[in-house]
Symmetry: C2
């Protein structure tokens, strides 16, 4: 594998990422990162920002800024952990839960971003990406 081929492949990943992220946003109305963040928070119920950071493998600073946006939109509540004032606890608002349900309901399983790939291919892709992302 020549370096040239490596760069071509990596550049393809970059392009795919860009395409797919903007497609997700136009289809759902949610930024991919913030959707994922809402999901993480929703699944945890209540959590600190560090937990989000670890779950999403994203920078602290990015977490803070996205949560600020989500808070402004009324999708998320934040309050200091009274037992440890360093931490901030985050959880979804009812608004968020509602908006996400609506979004999921409107989501057409057959014609979304990834519809160029079969279920099999998506599974394949997922495996490959997991390998790539494991340290």
């Amino acid at each position: 594998m020549e370096l040239r081929d490596v760069s071509r492949l990596l550049y393809q990943i970059k392009l795919a990422d860009q395409r797919v992220a903007t497609a997700f946003e136009t289809e759902t109305g949610f930024s991919l990162t913030r959707y994922e963040m809402l999901m993480v928070v929703g699944e945890k119920g209540v959590c600190s920002q560090s937990e989000i950071k670890d779950a999403m493998k994203i920078d602290n600073a990015a977490v803070t800024r996205h949560l600020k946006i989500l808070e402004d939109k009324g999708y998320v509540l934040r309050e200091r952990n009274t037992a440890n004032h360093r931490e901030v606890f985050v959880r979804l608002t009812d608004d968020a839960a509602h908006a996400l349900q609506t979004c999921e309901r409107n989501h057409d399983t057959s014609s979304h971003v990834m519809s160029v790939l079969s279920d099999d291919e998506m599974a394949q892709l997922s495996v490959l990406l997991k390998k790539l992302n494991q340290v």
Copy 2:
């Protein structure tokens, strides 16, 4: 395929992109995008910025800015097309050719960014990404 699963997969792509791009940069000393840009220019010999934009599927503005940086580093020469002053012609300097050769030579085929994947898997990945990027 639930929306949740889609977002998980797309987010994996994002993470892979980030990992892989920074790894490429630390391994080679070149930003992935600018390496790819140098390759494109090198392969074309001389070309306009629009050609680069089309080849790389990147925004005009990004091309201009990357070329500015590459010019400052002495990797690229730009001059207006005398036959059509709207266009700028771009080509590599000898410095760039030399630096790229050195980089390629130093590149260890066995232990680079993608070494977690077999050649087969990389080929698979390439096919999947091509599908995702086609449209």
